[in-house]
């Protein structure tokens, strides 16, 4: 199979030809990869060209058949898209999914609302075609109505909204199709509808893969915040979970950046209501650091209800922009310094600045994001407590073993030395020593088990050496002090070692 050419010098028509070729060969995954916003095909292209290319790819995927792997690209356009060509292409593509699903209905209705003032004619006849005569081509509303006809009774939940579309502002030549959609939706479903699914709820967000991955910037990232302060990545994100959204002030889609920032403001309020504002921070990072200067970011955020302080910042990169883009795998591309396309993206970072949860492409709910951030906070608290308790117990067991008397006489000597009258009557118990030994071995085993997640061996080797030295001290070697020190130090190193998770791809 010939490789896909990603040379930036390709013309739009050449890329479209590649797309057609991939569709003919059913190379579905390569087509899907072309829908990632950071694909080289979109570099240095106008937003209008990106629309043409993405729409053509969606249509190609529709010919091959939309699958679960590509469904979110389609739903994204219906959820947030305002471009007539892309919305129409997405509506057509949805009809190639194996079966209608009632969970699609809210997306279709939302698209009808979004595109109402932009129902411009589009042509799918050839790449780059535009409709030049009234009454020709298709339209986003036309395609959405066809999708409702396809969904039939699966769209029953939105029948009232579909009926409400009729009116003087509705395109007259689509009234017939609207009637057909209403009829199809209102009709009783066939008894055995192959592949028809009734989703448990009207929300497909649970179906989509929320990727979890860690963040290891390979280059120093320095931010400037909304008040002009310079901060490193660690300064901003270490020590607490953070909810992060990406935006830029020149975004012209009100359903993306401006809404994301407004929602972040509501997230801040939710955190305050739950008494978590000091423990979970928020950050908005601009895609457009050269233009979004501090005063501009501040004005943009404050007008949309953001509170700005040391725990809630708007940020632009002044160093390490490329590194930040690589490690978040940001869904964005540029023509010169201006964004030409981006997806909605929000993240929950843990207290070490690693990505714990990501929300991409579809509108995210403020309460969901806050709940995820609270999960991250709670799990960090629990790990801290259990980790500390385990470390302390294991270390004390080793210390106990090191100092435990070797015989009953020694036991008596210890007690008299301590001068504790009452304890003279505590008999020597030979079972205590093996118990302490077992405790020390349990500690040793636990630090070695921990290396499976941290991949850091230093602490484990130190504890091993410590236990060995304590063991030797039981045979007369003067190594107990060193053994105790090694055990304590090794247990501490193990407890503080960070977990290292493999990096996985965001859809």
């Amino acid at each position: 199979m010939p490789p896909v050419e990603t040379n930036r010098a390709l013309t739009e028509e050449e890329i479209a030809a590649q797309v057609d070729s991939l569709a003919a060969d059913l190379r579905h995954s390569e087509l899907a990869a072309m829908l990632r916003e950071d694909h080289p095909f979109y570099e240095q292209r106008s937003a209008a060209a990106v629309v043409r290319l993405r729409g053509w790819i969606l249509l190609a995927l529709a010919r091959a058949g939309i699958t679960d792997d590509t469904l979110h690209f389609v739903l994204e356009e219906l959820d947030n898209g305002l471009d007539p060509y892309l919305v129409a292409a997405a509506a057509r593509a949805l009809r190639s999914y194996p079966a209608a699903n009632s969970a699609f209905a809210p997306f279709v209705i939302r698209a009808l609302g979004n595109i109402r003032g932009h129902n411009e004619p589009v042509s799918f006849a050839a790449y780059g075609d535009y409709v030049l005569a009234p009454g020709t081509g298709t339209s986003p509303i036309g395609e959405l109505l066809e999708t409702l006809i396809w969904m039939a009774s699966a769209a029953r939940a939105v029948l009232a909204e579909v009926r409400a579309l009729r009116g003087p502002a509705f395109p007259g030549r689509l009234n017939g199709r609207l009637d057909s959609a209403i009829q199809a939706i209102a009709a009783d479903p066939p008894e055995s509808a192959p592949g028809m699914q009734e989703a448990a709820c009207c929300d497909l967000r649970g179906m989509l893969p929320w990727a979890q991955h860690s963040l290891h910037p390979d280059q120093k990232v320095i931010f400037e915040d909304d008040h002009g302060s310079r901060l490193g990545f660690e300064d901003v994100f270490r020590g607490h979970p953070t909810i992060v959204v990406f935006f830029y002030t020149r975004c012209d889609n009100p359903l993306k950046c401006t809404l994301s920032i407004s929602k972040l403001g509501r997230v801040q309020k939710l955190l305050q209501e739950r008494g978590l504002a000091d423990r979970i921070h928020t950050a908005a990072i601009t895609y457009d650091p050269a233009f979004d200067l501090p005063a501009r970011m501040r004005s943009y955020g404050e007008r949309r209800g953001l509170s700005l302080d040391t725990g809630n910042r708007m940020l632009r990169t002044v160093e390490g922009t490329a590194s930040l883009r690589r490690h978040f795998k940001l869904g964005v591309n540029f023509v010169e310094s201006v964004v030409n396309r981006h997806r909605i993206e929000a993240y929950v970072l843990d207290a070490k600045g690693r990505i714990a949860y990501s929300f991409g492409r579809l509108q995210w709910e403020e309460a969901d994001v806050v709940d995820r951030a609270v999960e991250v906070l709670d799990s960090a608290d629990a790990r801290g407590k259990s980790g500390s308790a385990g470390t302390a117990f294991g270390a004390m067991a080793s210390i106990g073993l090191a100092v435990f008397p070797k015989c009953p006489v020694c036991w008596a000597a210890y007690l008299s030395m301590l001068g504790v009258a009452g304890l003279q009557h505590i008999p020597y118990a030979p079972w205590i020593e093996p118990l302490l030994a077992a405790g020390a071995l349990v500690n040793l085993a636990s630090v070695w088990l921990r290396t499976r997640t941290t991949h850091r061996m230093t602490g484990a080797w130190m504890v091993t050496a410590g236990v060995a030295l304590i063991g030797l001290s039981r045979f007369g070697w003067v190594t107990s002090g060193l053994g105790v020190a090694a055990t304590l130090a090794g247990s501490l190193v193990s407890a503080l070692s960070t977990e290292s998770r493999p990096y996985s791809t965001v859809p």
């Binding site: 411009e120 004619p121 409709v131 200067l293």
Partner: protein
């Protein structure tokens, strides 16, 4: 001597009469044109609110190349007004857009300009492609380059930046260069270009003013620095003094009031120079002296 004066006077009178006749002719011509347009507007039957048929009729009139151009302009004007005022307009939005695209390649240059203007302000991809094709291949141009650049500037997400940059270096005419600079004012990478132009006294004041406006957006701290330098330079053009005073009065840092050299200079400007510069200087002093 008297004869010479008489012949000079006669010549002056003849010239004045000729000029008056030309003005009168022009006025009559405009008046006839206005009358034609008024007749056309009446013939085009203004849109009746709540009657979509009227809107469709206007679209047909717009597209009909057999109709007089004034009538088609009138239809376009009616449709443009209806787009804002008619609640039923969305029902024919698609047809309107298609019609605009059709007449964007009309034989009449004014029709092309108006149609492409409406489409470009709506960030229409068809219009942008046509305008870009025209800039890259002048024989395909539907509009002059300065107009094409102006319309492409309606969308910061267009890919006109490389062409605009080339135009700044080598423009077919000064207006095209001006529009190219306006377009680049949204490109952060072009800040150095604007810095160089602002500091170049050989550039026309209008061009330097465009650069100042661009720097205010892209690098406000640099604008403040250069504005100060311009004010301290008595050989600078008065228009640039004016622009710099306005920029610093509106957007300057509070610390400017501590800049004695600058304050003294502006003080002197408030007492001498043109009326507008004096007025701007007083406003500047009013802002910064009040903070003392």
């Amino acid at each position: 001597m008297a004869k010479k004066r008489t012949s000079k006077t006669k010549s002056a009178v003849k010239s004045a009469v000729k000029k008056s006749a030309a003005v009168a002719k022009s006025a009559r011509s405009k008046s006839r044109a206005s009358a034609r347009i008024m007749a056309a507007l009446n013939a085009a039957q203004p849109v009746t609110p709540g009657k979509p048929g009227d809107l469709e009729h206007m679209i047909d009139v717009l597209r009909d190349k057999e109709k007089p151009i004034e009538v088609r302009f009138a239809a376009l004007q009616s449709l443009g007004a209806a787009a804002f005022s008619e609640p039923d307009f969305p029902s024919i939005q698609g047809d309107y857009t298609a019609a605009l695209r059709e007449v964007a390649t009309d034989a009449d240059s004014e029709m092309r300009r108006r149609a492409l203007g409406i489409l470009a302000r709506g960030k229409d991809g068809f219009a942008q492609k046509k305008l870009m094709d025209g800039l890259k291949n002048p024989d395909q141009a539907l509009l002059p380059p300065e107009k094409a650049l102006q319309l492409l500037g309606n969308d910061i997400h267009s890919d006109a930046y490389p062409i605009a940059r080339a135009m700044v270096k080598n423009a077919p005419n000064p207006t095209a260069r001006r529009e190219a600079l306006r377009l680049l004012a949204t490109d952060a990478a072009s800040a150095p270009t604007f810095e160089a132009i602002l500091q170049d006294k050989k550039e026309a004041p209008e061009i330097r003013q465009i650069s100042a406006a661009a720097l205010h957006s892209l690098k406000p701290e640099k604008l403040q620095e250069y504005a100060r330098d311009i004010l301290l330079d008595p050989s600078e053009h008065a228009d640039m003094h004016q622009t710099s005073l306005t920029a610093l009065t509106q957007f300057g840092d509070a610390e400017l009031g501590d800049d004695k050299k600058l304050m003294n200079r502006v003080n002197r400007m408030s007492a001498s120079g043109s009326a507008t510069v004096k007025s701007s200087a007083r406003q500047f002093l009013g802002k910064y002296k009040a903070k003392e």
